[in-house]
């Protein structure tokens, strides 16, 4: 392992920690309002969708520059990983007695769902660092912003059940802790075995695009005015994709 790796590992950890801390920002609106409207969450998800799709364009371009078929193979694995996680979580949600879930169980369920998603996002941050600083900045930014509405969703469940703003922020951050935990080994893996970098970049892109298409976008369209959601997604997608090209 060469001399630059310890510094890079620290940078990866700090970046992934920043994305996790950003989740805590989701509790902030509750300091000013008792409740946050669903349309606000929808617009936040639309913003995150555009950033994540734009960032995925960058991941695919970077990976395809090395090996196109491997990048697409990785993307397929990323999609399968999200489908697998969703299937497992659906099993948790469908467990008998779920409909009578107590407040605490409901809180645990939301935490479980959000935490499970964080694993793939952590991998995305880690492999992005393997693809260079430009890509790393873009993916870190996209995931950090994506985390804010996730924190909002957690806080919206915890706050009505008596949790303080600080507790809401803390639990939101806890749900994203798999990000720094997963980012470092993912980065070390692609650094050590450079041949797997396009697979890793593709995995991150596939997981993010699928997450956007299966969760964020349909929910945003349902909870807010579709033309506004579409405009926000389109402009942020184009902005993010082009920002990566010009950085």
């Amino acid at each position: 392992m060469n001399a630059h790796v310890p510094t890079s590992v620290l940078a990866v950890f700090i970046a992934a920690l920043i994305t996790a801390l950003a989740t805590g920002l989701g509790a902030l609106p509750f300091a000013f309002w008792k409740a946050v409207g669903t349309s606000a969450v929808a617009y936040a998800n639309a913003l995150a969708s555009g950033l994540m799709l734009g960032a995925s364009f960058g991941l695919v371009a970077e990976g395809s520059g090395v090996n196109g078929p491997a990048t697409m193979g990785g993307a397929a694995l990323g999609v399968l990983a999200i489908i697998g996680a969703d299937r497992a979580l659906r099993g948790v949600e469908a467990r008998p007695g779920r409909e009578r879930a107590s407040g605490t169980r409901r809180m645990l369920l939301v935490m479980t769902v959000m935490t499970a998603h964080s694993f793939a996002e952590g991998v995305a941050v880690g492999v992005a660092f393997g693809g260079g600083a430009r890509l790393a900045v873009a993916i870190t930014l996209a995931i950090a912003i994506h985390n804010i509405p996730e924190g909002l969703a957690i806080s919206a469940t915890f706050r009505p059940r008596g949790a303080s703003i600080a507790a809401c922020a803390l639990w939101s951050i806890v749900s994203s802790l798999p990000q720094p935990v997963m980012a470092v080994p993912a980065f070390l893996f692609v650094e050590t075995f450079r041949g797997v970098l396009p697979w890793g970049l593709g995995f991150a892109a596939g997981a993010m695009v699928f997450m956007v298409l299966v969760e964020l976008l349909p929910e945003a369209y349902e909870q807010a005015r579709a033309p506004k959601v579409a405009l926000l997604v389109s402009l942020t997608l184009v902005g993010m994709a082009l920002a990566q090209r010009s950085l």
Partner: protein
């Protein structure tokens, strides 16, 4: 064919003609199941996102400011047209204005695809051929959705297929116009490429994806769209 203008015209005409294939499923079924229409829209959406990606990476990074300007124009243009030509209020409305809006929506949609074919041909002829083939494939599910709407309004199958091809005539005109503009003024190429990218992405976000989520489950929609996107990127080899 060495003349780029003729080449672009031929490519776009071939892509527009492929729309007629969208009528084929109706030979077996009078009405398509809603999930098929959702998957058709998702397929069209994924192909368009993949094409937008291929245009973005086809131009050198130093053209990003012009691409960004063009993309913003493309997004705003589609948003403005969508506001002006609001979708028919009743799904089975049979009056002429409703049919007109349906066809106008198809024509506007196709126009931006024509810009994409023209820009790709301006970048290089092989990219133009790739873009035309991908848009021809994209036109088939898109036309199936249009034919379904026309059939609901009592239009005969042959006539509906003809109208689907006619709606895509704007593709041919815009492909030729884009190439006629960009060949003498190459500085316009990133602007037109940006316009195509912005328009294609916004058409996906404002029409195709919301429509697809109405007709089928979100997991199947996401799978079809992501597979179509991946197929385009893979066919292009990721980078030009």
């Amino acid at each position: 064919m060495s003349d780029p203008l003729l080449t672009a015209l031929a490519y776009a005409a071939g892509a527009a003609a492929a729309s007629a294939l969208g009528a084929l499923p109706f030979l077996r079924k009078r009405v398509l199941p809603p999930s098929w229409l959702g998957w058709a829209s998702a397929l069209a959406a994924g192909l368009m996102l993949g094409l937008a990606y291929t245009i973005l990476v086809a131009l050198p990074p130093n053209r990003a400011p012009a691409l960004a300007g063009g993309a913003a124009l493309g997004v705003l243009l589609v948003a403005a047209v969508a506001r002006l030509s609001a979708a028919p209020s009743a799904p089975a409305e049979a009056d002429a204005p409703a049919m007109g809006r349906l066809l106008l929506s198809g024509a506007v949609h196709a126009a931006h695809e024509g810009v994409a074919i023209g820009v790709a041909t301006a970048v290089d002829l092989r990219f133009g051929a790739f873009m035309a083939i991908a848009i021809a494939v994209h036109n088939v599910p898109e036309a199936a959705v249009l034919v379904a709407g026309l059939r609901q309004r009592g239009v005969r199958l042959g006539e509906a297929a003809g109208l689907a091809v006619t709606a895509n005539a704007s593709q041919v005109a815009l492909a030729a116009a884009t190439l006629a503009l960009t060949v003498p003024a190459p500085g316009l190429t990133p602007w037109m490429a940006g316009l195509a990218v912005g328009a294609l992405i916004h058409l996906v976000m404002t029409e195709l994806l919301p429509d697809s989520y109405h007709h089928a489950g979100r997991t199947s929609i996401a799978l079809v769209a992501v597979a179509a996107m991946g197929a385009v990127v893979l066919a292009r080899g990721g980078l030009p």
